[in-house]
Amino acid sequence: MRHTISVLVENKFGVLARIAGLFSARGYNIASLAVSETLDPSISYMTIVVEAKDEKILEQIMKQLNKLIDVITVTDFTKKEHVERELVLVKVDYSAKEKAKLEAILQKYVGKIVQHKDDTAVIEAVGKEQQIKQLLESLRQFGVKELIRTGKIAIEY
């Protein structure tokens, strides 16, 4: 099962390595990771998405995360009400004959063109996992040249 975990940590060098180490030492791949400073610049907020092959191992990782001296709190959003979003940037073919079709799709889904030059447009989309997935599938026909994702961020409410 896929878990979205948030970790509040001291904003110091080495902290990310400690956290990543707990996953890698158990052969767990981090599906996505987003890190940034919070309102308090001495604290960073991490959103980690991980595929748990074994829930017991994930429980152990959560406990180990909590044990790290630099970790302030750990929350598994999987069982909690929360809002989650991801930002993607997609470079697609923007030739004259495809323009109208592309714009129609963008109206339907969450994306918008933020930059275009010659035959290429950069689309920005912010949304939930499912929305992003739908958009990317429908963009495939235009020839996706490049795709960058921030990874998921999540907030409790």
Binding site: V9, E10, F13, G14, G21, K63, K67, I69, V71
Partner: protein, 554 residues
């Protein structure tokens, strides 16, 4: 003050008296200041010896052990010692030199990313990037090492930080917002535990190293006596409960007593305190204590239900929780028929060995026990020597059995003995060694002789890497692949270091040799030539249920 002076002043403020270490290029400013400082500094002959000695010092005294090494190879040589302390939750502070901050990451001479290397084997580590942080870091390092579930902490101090000048500001208190160990158990959980205990018919206490690190031995004894529950312990829990007590069952697990393994299999309630259901204890998990409810008391939440199911988990310090639990148990269970059952198990499956013409290792340890009246501090190496030392010496006090439990580090016992003796100079300290293990840190004979650290070493010399040979005998058709190991002439070797060597080849000379070793005011190595293919029994084959033991005596 310079960084080196700040470091030394901080160590003084932490009450450090003994330091084990080895100099080098990137700790020159520190060593220059150590020249004038009043520490009892023990120059080891290999940095691994320093780490194990600091660890042994800590295990014997309960204080934080301190070791110092230079950058690069000095630091990496500490690694095994740090990992050993980490696995057994031993408070220790390791200080390493590092190349100048401006050179870090440049593959400078003797540079190693030691904070990176030790990240998974320390409780925490620090790289000092600003001299203004140094005093606070030392304070935090000692605090982190010694509180909660204890463990080793490493401080990496670059050369230029040691040389820079700053004002010395000592933080009197520590405030780490992200580190707040749970010390007191949840009252509701303790009540639940008390209720389970009152209802139990066949309770058993399973005691681990946490009892010793928390200083809870008296409470443990009170609990056992109050509820009349037999007590078994892990390798790390040796000394947590008196071996000669009538409720004592000895060690459980792979080489535990048969009666302890049978008793825990039959129990209806396990009270686990400061133990972590390690695979060497449980054997095959689905067959471990199948009829039992489980109360698990541990300071580390990640130990709870890591390996084994639990009915009532209680997170906190063992001493606090046991104290509270004792008050909450209003009605002690009636365990008289259970105690009779356990007594019968003890009679039916005693711990025994077949004595013979040749010197049996078990006999050697019994003799050491008798001569020292069970009052020595015993350290061990790893393998057969360790298991025999665990089985045949009667430990009645905490901190008298010092052994690498979790990591199983060969070469640990001798430097650890050195550390223990430095911490408690008035005590008799014996390292029970194998001929393989002792060769791994034999260089510390020079340290012992030079500093008059008069420990005694008993080598159980069988010419084999005995435990591996035993497994090869039992599970690999006696194909002794690279386990026959030759050693030096240990007597001459001891003499060449300025120590005393005694060789014993006859059973009747065993006791005399031990008495002689104790009477000599020097480091003494006794080379006991024992039965070469003696095995450690009972034994639970890996992956078997723990009540399914090979006795070897049939």
């Amino acid at each position: 003050m310079t960084g080196a002076q700040i470091l030394i002043e901080s160590l003084k403020r932490e009450g450090v008296a003994v330091i084990f270490g080895y100099p080098g290029g990137q700790v020159l400013p520190l060593f220059d200041k150590l020249y004038d400082a009043n520490f009892n500094f023990i120059l080891v002959r290999h940095e691994q010896g320093a780490a194990h000695a600091a660890d042994g010092y800590s295990r014997a005294t309960g204080k934080v052990g301190v070791c110092i090494a230079t950058s690069g190879p000095g630091a990496t040589n500490l690694v095994t010692g740090i990992a050993t302390a980490f696995m057994d939750s031993i408070p220790m502070v390791a200080i390493t030199g590092q190349v100048k901050t401006t050179l870090i990451g440049n593959d400078a001479f003797q540079e190693a990313d030691i904070t990176g290397i030790t990240r998974p084997i320390t409780k925490h580590n620090f790289l000092v990037k600003d001299i203004k942080d140094l005093a606070r870091i030392v304070k935090e390092a000692f605090y982190i090492a010694s509180t909660g579930r204890p463990g080793p902490v490493l401080i990496d101090v670059p050369l230029d930080i040691q040389q820079q000048e700053a004002e010395f500001i000592w933080p009197e208190t520590v405030e780490i917002r992200s580190y707040k160990p749970t010390l007191f158990g949840h009252p509701g959980q303790i009540k639940k535990a008390a209720k389970l205990i009152s209802q139990a018919k066949k309770p058993i206490i399973y005691a681990g190293g946490g009892i010793i690190s928390s200083g809870a031995t008296l409470f443990l004894r009170e609990l056992a006596e109050k509820i009349q529950a037999p007590v078994t312990w892990t390798l790390m829990g040796i000394g947590a409960f008196p071996a000669t007590h009538k409720l004592s069952l000895g060690m459980l697990g792979m080489h535990g007593t048969a009666f302890a393994n049978h008793a825990i299999t039959d129990a209806d309630l396990i009270i686990a305190v400061g133990a972590r259901f390690d695979d060497r204890v449980t054997g095959r998990l689905d067959a471990f204590a199948p009829k039992s409810k489980v109360i698990h008391i541990d300071i580390d939440p990640s130990s709870i239900s890591k390996n084994f199911r639990v009915d009532v988990p209680i997170v906190g310090d063992a001493k606090n929780i046991l104290g509270e639990l004792l008050e909450q148990i209003k009605k002690s269970p009636d365990t008289s028929s259970w105690i009779k059952e356990v007594e019968a198990l003890k009679k039916k499956h005693p711990l025994k060995y077949k004595d013979g013409e040749k010197i049996k290792p078990q006999y050697v340890i019994e003799q050491i026990d008798e001569v020292t009246k069970g009052e020595a501090i015993i350290t061990t190496e790893v393998g057969q020597n360790q298991m025999w030392a665990a089985q045949w010496y009667k430990y009645n006090h905490p901190r008298t059995f010092i052994s690498s439990g979790g990591l199983g580090t060969m070469g640990f016992g001798f430097p650890a003995a050195m550390g223990a003796k430095m911490g408690l100079p008035e005590r008799m300290v014996f390292d029970i060694a194998g001929d393989g293990s002792i060769q791994m840190n034999i260089q510390e004979l020079a340290t012992c002789v030079c500093n008059k650290i008069h420990v005694k070493i008993a080598i159980l010399n069988n010419g084999y890497l005995g435990m591996v040979r035993q497994w090869q005998e039992l599970f690999y058709k006696r194909r002794y692949s690279h386990t026959c190991i030759s050693g030096p002439d240990f007597v001459k070797l001891a003499e060449s270091f300025g120590a005393v060597g005694i060789r014993v080849t006859k059973k009747e000379d065993v006791r005399k040799a031990i008495e002689k070793a104790i009477s000599i005011d020097n480091t003494v190595l006794i080379d006991f030539h024992i039965e070469p293919e003696e095995n450690v029994y009972p034994m639970v084959p890996a992956g078997s249920a723990i009540n399914n033991m090979i006795s070897g005596l049939a």
